[in-house]
Amino acid sequence: MTSRGHLQPWIALIGLFAMVALPLDSADPTLTLPRAGVLGWSVLVATALAIVAAIRAEQSGIAGVLLAIAAHLGAFVALHLLPTVAGHPGSGYLALVLTSWLLAWALVSELSAVPRPKGFDGLLLRLLVPFLFGLWLLILWEIVVVVLKVPSVLIPPPSAIGARIATSIPTLAADFRQTFLKAVIAGYAIGCGTGFLVAIIVDRIPFLQRGLLPIGNLVSALPIVGIAPIMVMWFGFDWPSKAAVVVVSTFFPMLVNTVTGLAAAQPMSRDLMRTYAANYWQTLFKLRLPEAMPFIFNALKINSTLALIAAIVAEFFGTPIVGMGFRISTEVGRMNIDMVWAEIAVAALAGSVFYGVVALIERAATFWHPSFRT
């Protein structure tokens, strides 16, 4: 931990005073944290310790541990009190939430500044930061939705979504299989594959480069919404029509990126190949494709999320009665918004893992690129 002048602990100190003095419940001004029993007191003590540790900015993991304890104890108490204060939170409650959040934020900054150890610990640390970020997103979401009494048909609290996920595993699994394992994977492979091949063909045959690329651009931005019904018309209701939509929407990013990437080789590297009288394919495989890799992975990454969206959107236009898009569209109509969010959560998780896998492969395949060497 460096001695950068953090502002957060000082603000948290103000928060601490507010937590001590102000009421938790505007309907019951007598309820303050110090009067909320052992839990209330432990939050105050933990917060105070964490603030002291953070301000003194000591060289240690102790500050981090204290921050973690205080922030999450605070969150726990806030959630614990949530049913009591729903609809009429007091200023002390807000202070509790905001202070805990601030401490969590300080914790995330601390963790990000830690030099990453090697191996498994490093991986854990890498995952811990986004995990904390996401956890706090959910905590704040839960509190805001419940405290403001937002109707659950608009935005359900994460707890309701979690409960829904727990009770709907078989449905979610079936939908995942239909949409992700069939449509997305097939469409992604074919779309990226053809985009790549066409880029090579276009590169190989300058006539096509001049003739096809402008027209290719025409086809490029066909909106998913427009092609989905046509694909259903052509390929039927089941997943092939969804895969076709995925193909169309992943094709263009791959084409553009590959064409750009193939042009990225340094003049001197090209000259070297010329001196070997390397033929087109040798230059392609040994120089231009490696040099194009960062661009190609760029497309693969963008496409990994695009494919999922495309498949889900395509399912709005006629499907068998299974699939993530099907479920989302019908459950909106049934006002089961928690189920909609459950599907969204699955989609987000699947998409992030997909992206993460592509990113890992990228790191392994383009380790030499300056962006990974630093």
Binding site: S152, F317, G318, T330, R334, M335
Partner: protein, 309 residues
């Protein structure tokens, strides 16, 4: 004038002619109302819009309204301009379907998005499973149009008398090659296009008053549409922002719509309501539309105040 927003269930078409006519003909204005009509679409759940405060009153189908009510959006039916249901299942004759008994093993297109409840009730009544097994039916979520029937991807599809059925005919398939099953005839009809508002607002007499004016003027619009169908179709056409509607189709539609709005002055018939509830409760399945008999889901207060009895 007093502003008021109406959220429709579907795109601008003759299905909503009464409201557009009332607006164009100045019926709302006469009542001191400044009505904004928001067209809907497949992705708009009017129930969600009204819950978010985006509309004062919505049109929707009763099954969807009752489902929302259970989910915590307390919608109340204040008027029911549509007496009859226009929903039906249309099959190609060559598939060999002559009666509901022949559905077994066939592929049926159904609209979801809250419109599938009457269908599920019907299948439950017929004792057919809807999960694709050999002694049930295969259900497809049908898109916006009638292509699955024309392209033979489905044996039967859902159609509205006033809209999709006309499109099937337009596509060149004559009535003689079709078999139709009206939900109305199968005893599983549910109430369609009613007007719904949020329950808490009805506590305010001024709001009831305003709604009464709105319903009264709308009924006047529907009456006018029945009397002057061609003019009503033209009015709808003028209000269509997409510019995609054709006059011929809207004329056909208003003709059929008029058959459905005939026979009511806009006040909900309690018997129809009961039948709808019974049908929905019988639908069953693993995700029932409603699990218990709703209470307070409708009121006559508004129609009474509007003098529609």
């Amino acid at each position: 004038a007093d502003p008021l927003t109406l959220q429709l269930k579907w795109v601008t078409q003759a299905q909503f002619a009464g409201y557009y006519v009332a607006k164009e003909k100045g019926f709302y204005e006469e009542e001191g109302l400044d009505v904004t009509i928001k067209p809907g679409g497949p992705d708009i759940a009017p129930e969600q819009v009204i819950a978010g405060g985006g509309a004062d009153v919505i049109t929707t189908w009763m099954p969807a309204a009752l489902a929302s009510r259970e989910k915590g959006v307390p919608l109340v039916n204040i008027a029911q301009p549509f007496k009859k249901s226009g929903l039906m299942l249309t099959c190609r004759k060559e598939t060999g379907i002559a009666s509901p008994a022949d559905f077994k093993g066939k592929t049926l297109g159904v609209w979801f998005y809250g419109n599938e409840y009457p269908f599920l009730a019907w299948m439950a009544k017929l004792g057919l499973k809807t999960n694709g097994g050999p002694d049930g039916v295969t259900v497809l979520k049908q898109g916006f149009n009638v292509d699955p029937l024309i392209q033979k991807q489905a044996d039967c599809i859902s159609t509205m008398t006033y809209n999709e059925f006309g499109q099937v005919l337009d596509a060149g398939i004559p009535e003689s090659e079709l078999v139709v099953f009206k939900y109305e005839d199968q005893g599983v009809a549910t109430l369609e296009d009613g007007l719904y508002v949020m329950e808490d607002k009805l506590k305010d007499p001024a709001f009831v008053e305003k709604m009464a004016k709105f319903v009264k003027a709308s009924e006047k619009g529907w009456d006018y549409a029945r009397a002057h169908p061609d003019e009503a179709a033209k009015i709808v056409l003028e209000n269509d922002e997409t510019g995609a509607q054709t006059e011929a189709h809207q004329k056909f539609m208003i003709g059929e719509i008029n058959k459905l709005t005939d026979g009511t002055n806009g006040a909900l018939d309690e018997a129809d309501y009961k039948r709808t509830v019974t049908t929905l409760l019988s639908a069953g399945g693993d995700s029932p539309v409603i699990t218990k008999e709703p209470t307070g889901a409708w009121t006559h207060a508004v129609t009474d105040a509007a003098g529609l009895k």
